[in-house]
Point group: C2
Chain length 131, copies 2
Amino acid sequence: MERIPILRMGEYLLVTIQVDMHDRLAMTLQDDLTSRIAATGARGVLIDVSGLDMVDSFIGRMIANIAGMSRILDAETVVVGIQPAVAITLVELGMTLTGVRTALDVERGMALLRTTLLPREGEDGDGRVGE
Amino acid sequence: MERIPILRMGEYLLVTIQVDMHDRLAMTLQDDLTSRIAATGARGVLIDVSGLDMVDSFIGRMIANIAGMSRILDAETVVVGIQPAVAITLVELGMTLTGVRTALDVERGMALLRTTLLPREGEDGDGRVGE
């Protein structure tokens, strides 16, 4: 398996990272995700890392990169499901994920996106999930 | 990584299968999922297999098992994201996933659950995702 699935939920995209990332997989994910944001006009990206027991600086950097790219494409990134041990490791690695929002789980992450995103012009601001 | 994350989205649970299943991982998933259904009172389980390029009879059986267990716990299972090649393989293996609902993607799977699930007594039938 050489591709991380990206699930569309209304105007948000959900990425669940379960496997160890390596260079090529991370590049594929960045390509896929930016294409999907552009194609769907997604407003938010949820990255679920609850399946990761540990992170290294590579994953930390990848998440920061994805957040930066998404922001340029007008989509907010929320990282959800960070395990306590992972939070400790990230800070110890000096990666405080500045500019990346976090939430405890997907539900809270979606709620965060719903409350923080302003409606685009001509939209009612409600995700299709929220219909 | 020895655990597949189970994400709660309102009254549904979402499981994304990305990695090759083996016996122990499948058992852990069944344990985790049935516990979560019981703990959360989830009405539906979405199993996303869009990350799988191929399936074998083991995965097919596991999905059928999960659907059976969920049904006993009063939750409907919808398998989403089956790739065309996987559909071919499943039928060739003689596994037509009888009794398991399918949908093209997570959004359609959620819509299917919303339209088919009758509200439980004392509930308004709306998932929290749908608020």
